[in-house]
Symmetry: D4
Subunit: 177 residues, 8 copies
Amino acid sequence: MSGETAGQSRNRQNDAPAGEQPVAIIMGSQSDWETMRHAAETLEALGIGHDCRIVSAHRTPERMFDFARGAKAAGYKVIIAGAGGAAHLPGMVASLTTLPVFGVPVESKAMSGIDSLYSIVQMPAGIPVGTLAIGKAGATNAGLIAAAVLALSDAALAERLAAWRAARTAAVAERPE
Amino acid sequence: MSGETAGQSRNRQNDAPAGEQPVAIIMGSQSDWETMRHAAETLEALGIGHDCRIVSAHRTPERMFDFARGAKAAGYKVIIAGAGGAAHLPGMVASLTTLPVFGVPVESKAMSGIDSLYSIVQMPAGIPVGTLAIGKAGATNAGLIAAAVLALSDAALAERLAAWRAARTAAVAERPE
Amino acid sequence: MSGETAGQSRNRQNDAPAGEQPVAIIMGSQSDWETMRHAAETLEALGIGHDCRIVSAHRTPERMFDFARGAKAAGYKVIIAGAGGAAHLPGMVASLTTLPVFGVPVESKAMSGIDSLYSIVQMPAGIPVGTLAIGKAGATNAGLIAAAVLALSDAALAERLAAWRAARTAAVAERPE
Amino acid sequence: MSGETAGQSRNRQNDAPAGEQPVAIIMGSQSDWETMRHAAETLEALGIGHDCRIVSAHRTPERMFDFARGAKAAGYKVIIAGAGGAAHLPGMVASLTTLPVFGVPVESKAMSGIDSLYSIVQMPAGIPVGTLAIGKAGATNAGLIAAAVLALSDAALAERLAAWRAARTAAVAERPE
Amino acid sequence: MSGETAGQSRNRQNDAPAGEQPVAIIMGSQSDWETMRHAAETLEALGIGHDCRIVSAHRTPERMFDFARGAKAAGYKVIIAGAGGAAHLPGMVASLTTLPVFGVPVESKAMSGIDSLYSIVQMPAGIPVGTLAIGKAGATNAGLIAAAVLALSDAALAERLAAWRAARTAAVAERPE
Amino acid sequence: MSGETAGQSRNRQNDAPAGEQPVAIIMGSQSDWETMRHAAETLEALGIGHDCRIVSAHRTPERMFDFARGAKAAGYKVIIAGAGGAAHLPGMVASLTTLPVFGVPVESKAMSGIDSLYSIVQMPAGIPVGTLAIGKAGATNAGLIAAAVLALSDAALAERLAAWRAARTAAVAERPE
Amino acid sequence: MSGETAGQSRNRQNDAPAGEQPVAIIMGSQSDWETMRHAAETLEALGIGHDCRIVSAHRTPERMFDFARGAKAAGYKVIIAGAGGAAHLPGMVASLTTLPVFGVPVESKAMSGIDSLYSIVQMPAGIPVGTLAIGKAGATNAGLIAAAVLALSDAALAERLAAWRAARTAAVAERPE
Amino acid sequence: MSGETAGQSRNRQNDAPAGEQPVAIIMGSQSDWETMRHAAETLEALGIGHDCRIVSAHRTPERMFDFARGAKAAGYKVIIAGAGGAAHLPGMVASLTTLPVFGVPVESKAMSGIDSLYSIVQMPAGIPVGTLAIGKAGATNAGLIAAAVLALSDAALAERLAAWRAARTAAVAERPE
C-alpha cells in the first residue's frame, strides 16, 4: 500500500460495486469514523474487501432497515457495526439479518462508552451481537474477528491472518525501554 | 371498576378498535408485563384509554416498524415503551414517529436494570425518549406523565390528575408506625 | 434567524411578558447554561417561545416554589429543568405542578453526570420526570420532546417538527470521510 | 426502658409537644421506617428526645417546606432525614434551614441505594448534608453523629455517648467463633 | 430428537471422536454448565455438532494450552468459551488460535458478572473475543452466532437458522396477558 | 480581609496556640490542600478559627492516633478530614474521638473520587462520619456544616451563617447569560 | 485431621502461645468469620499454623494498634486481614507494620463488597496491601498467597503447596455433567 | 546511585544473568512501562535486584508460558505483573507458578483501569494474585510488598525497608502550604 493513505485505499475499494465486498462496516454517524476506521484499516491490512457506510438507527431507521434486510442478498458475509451512547445499531441490524454481526461500542462523552457497551452487549436471547472492546481496540478486533470468520472458508486469508498474528507476536520487545 | 380486576378492564379496552385509544403501552416481551401493567393501571385509574401490545424490537422488528410508522395515523397521542437489557424499543420507536415517547427501563437480571436505563436514556441528539425510573415506579410514572401531556388539552383529565395527586398527598401519614 | 446570534434571539423572546411562552427552561445555576442553551436553541429552531430562568432548588428554594406553583397559571405548558450533581430541581418542580416536566442531567465534574442522572430519573411512583440523556444531547432532546408534546395540539408545529426531523435524516451522509 | 418496646417508647416521646425534642427524624415514606427506626433506637439508647415524622419531598412538598422553615423555631437542633431513590428530602430540607442536616440513603430496589447515596451526598457548594452509610448502619450512625453534635454543649450526654462507645468496644470478642 | 433429553443428545454427541464437531463449548468449571448448557441446547436445536469441555485457564492452564493450540487441527471451526469473575479463558484461548472465539460472561456472585464481562470484552487490539451478554441469554446467543458463522458455508444450516428465527418471531404474542 | 490572601490569613490563624481553634481541618497529604483549602476559606469567611494539619492515616498513623485521641482535650469541637483513594483518615479519626467528624472525599486519579467516597461514607454502625460531596463542593460544605454545628451554641455565628446563606441566595441571577 | 472439624483444629492451634504461629488472620467483626474461615481452612489444609483474631479498626482501634505494632515481635510472618464496607483494617494494619499484609474484601449488604474492595485496594503509594477477590474466593486465596510467601523459605511447605495445586488440577473433570 | 538515572541502573541490573535477580517485573506491553517503572524504581531504592520483561499474555502466550513455568527455576522469588484492560497476565502467570504473584492494574483509556482491576483481583479460589491499586501507586506498592516478602528472610533488607518507611513518615509536613 506504499504511497497511498489508508483513506485513498478505502475510497478505491468503495468504488467497487456494492455487494462485491464480504464485509460491511457501518456506523451511526460521521463522528464514529475516527474509531471505526481502525476496523477498515485492519481489513485492508489483511486484504479483505469492505464497504464503509453511515447507517444511523435513529436518524435513518429506514436506511438501516433496507441495509440490514438486503445485506445478505447484497453479498455481505459479515457486518461490523459501531455506535455510541444508547447504541442500537448493532442489535437492530442483527434483528434484521441472520448474518453474523459484530458490535463496537464507541466511546461516549459522559460515560466513556459504558453506555455504548451495555447497549450493545446485553442483547436478549435470540439475537446475538458479538461485542468487542470499547473504542479503537474494539474496532481493530472487529476487523480481526471478521477475518477469522472469513478465513474458515478461505485458506489464503487464513495464512495472511496467521502471518499478521505472527508478525505482531514477533514485534513484542523483550524488555521495556 | 367494582367487581372487575384490572386485567378484565384492560381486556375490554383492548377490544376497542385499534387507534381509538390515546395511549399505546408497548413492551418487548410478555415478561415485561409484570412491570408495565403498573402503567396500564395508572392510566385506568385516571380514565385514560390505552392499548397494550407486545412489540419486540429484536424479535419482531417489522411489527415494531409498522407499529411506530402507523402510530400517529392510528390515533395514538403518546407512546409508553418498556424494555430490559439492551433495551432498544423506546429509542427505535422514537426514531420512527414524532409522537412523544416515554421509556421504562425494566429491571434486568444481572445488571438490575442499569443496562436498560443506559440503553434507553442515553439517546443521541435528535431523537428524544423521556425516560422514567427503573421498574414499577417508572411504569407508574410513565402513565402519569402521559396523563400530564394529555391533560394539556383535556380540562376534565387535568382535574382528575390533580385529584389523584391530591389524594396521594392526603394519604401520607404524619408519623411512621 | 439570519444576522442574529441565538443569544440575541433568546433575549428578545425573554422580553416578552412572562407566561406568554409555552415552555419554561429552568436550570440550577449559570454554569448549567452552557448545556441548557441547546434546549433553547432547539426550541428557537422550531419556532417555539420559551423563557429561560435560573431557579436553584438549593440556593433559591422559595423562588423554585413560587415558580413551580405558579407555572400553570403563568401559561406554561411544558417545563424543562436542568441540574447537576445531587440534581433536585426537576423532581421538586414536578412535585409542585401537574405540568409535564422534562429533566436534563448536567454533566458533573467528578461523576460525569451519573449522579445527576440518578438524582433525576429515579423518582418514586407518583411524581414523574421524563429524563433525557446527560449533557448537550439531553438538552437538545428536551427541546424536541417539548415540541412533540406541544405539536399534539398544534398542527403547524407538527409540520415544522416533521420537517426538522426530515432535514436531519437527509443530512446523514452515505459514507464516512 | 424495661418492659416496653422501642415502639412504645417512641410513641410516648412523640406525645410530647412538638419542638420539645432536640432531634427530628424525618423520612420520605412509611417504608423508610424499617431503616430509620435504627436512628430512633440509637437516640433512645442515648436518652435523646426525638420526633419521628413522615415528610415526603415529592408527595408532600408543602409539608416539607413548612417543616424545614419552622424547624429552628420549633426548637429542633439537628435534623436526620432518610430517603431512597431520587432522594431529595435531605438536601431540600438543608436548603430551607441552617440547622445541621444528616442524610441517610435508604436502600432502593434496583440500585441498592447507590442512587439514594448519590442524590444525597453530591450536594453543590452552599448547602451541606452530612451523609451516612446506605441503610441500617447509616441510620444508626445518624443517631450517633446527632448525639456527638448535641454532646458539645451537654456534658452528661457526652458521658453517656462515651460510655455507649466504650461498651461497644468492650463487646468485641477476642476471637471469632 | 424426540424421546430424548437434551442431556442424552449431548452425551451421544460427546461420544463422537473429538474434532468431528464444528463447535467446541468450553467452560472454566462445572458450575458454569448451568449457564453454558444453553449454548449447547441452542446448537442442538439447530442440528450443529459440538463438544462440551471443562477447560480452566487457572486450574488447568496446560489443558487450555493444548486445547487451544490444537483446536484448528482437531477440526473445530468455532469456539465458545464461558467463564466468570476474572474470566481469562476466552481471551487466552483466542490468543492461542486464529479460530473465531465467542465469550460468555458467567454471572458471578458479588459482582453479578460485571467482572466477567469486563474481563472478557476489554481485550487489547490484536486478539478479538466476540462477547455476548452476561448469563443464560449470552450462552444462547453464543450458540446462535456460531450458527450464523457456520451458515455462511452451509446453506442447509442457513435455512434451519432462518426457520428458528422465524419461529421465534411467530411466537411473540400480540398482547400481554 | 482586604489586602491579604486567604493563605496569609490562614497562616496567621495557625500561629495561634493549638487548641484555641474550634475546628481542625486535617488531610492525608499536601496534595489534598488544593481541595481542602475551600473548607478553610469557608470557615474564614464565617469568622471561625481553625487549624490546618497534615495527618496521614497511612504514613503517620501515630500522629493520627495522637491527634485524634487528644482532639477533645485540645479544645477542638469539630473535625474536618479530607482524604482520597482508600481514604481511611476520616473513619479512623472518628473511631478515636467522640467529636463530630466530617469527611471530604478528595477526587482521585483513576476513580475520580468514587473510591474516596465509598471508603469514607460506608462506615459500619457505631462510628459515624458525616460525609460531604467529592471534591471542592464537599470541602466548602464541610466548612458550612461545621458552622451549622457551632452555631447551635453561638448566636452571633448563627447570624453570620444566615447572612452568608442569604447573600448566596441573593446572588443568584434571574436569567442565564 | 480425620475425625475433627476444621473448627476443632483451629481452636487447638489457637491454644498455642500467641506468636508461635506464622500467620495471623484478623477480621473486623464476628460476622466476617463466615468469609474468613476459608482462609483458616486453607492454611490448615496446608499445615500452616495461624491465629484468628477479631480486631476492629473502628470499634477497637487501640487493639488494632497494639496488634499491628507488635505483630513482628510476636513472631508473625504474614497478616491476613478481612473487612467489609469502609474497610480500613487491612490498610491501617499495613501502615503499622512492615510485614506483608493481604486484604480480603468481605461482601457488604448494599454494595456487594465493591465498597470493601475499593477501600482495601486503592491504597496510596507507600503502604501496600495485597488484595484478593471479594468474599470466600478471596479468603481462600489469602491463605494460598500466605503459603506461597512462607514457602519461599520452607521447602517442605513448597512441596505441600505444589501438591495441593496439583490435586486441584487433577480434580477438574474433562466434561460437564 | 549518584550520577546515574534510574534507567541506567536498571539496564545494568538487566545485564546480570537472568535468574540472578529475586524479583521479576513483567508487563503486557511497552506502554505499561510508564506505570511499571515505579515498581522498578522502588525496588532499586531498596537495593533489590530485578528483571524487567515484556510478557504479553495475549500477543506472546508462549513466552508467558515459558516465563511462568521457568520462573522458580530461574531463581525468582516474587513476580510483579502489570497489565491493563482485560488484564490476564497476572492471573495466568499465577496459574503457572507457585511463586507469589502481585498484580498491578494499569489505567486503561475508556474505563480508567476499573476493567484492569476487576480482571486481576477477582481470581477464583485456588490461584491467588495479590492486587495493588490502579496505576502508579499500585506499581510502587508492588515493589514495597515484594520487599516485605523478601525481608522475611533478609534482615538487612528489613532494615532498609523500615528506614525507607521511616523516611517517608518523617517527610510528612505538619501543615499544608
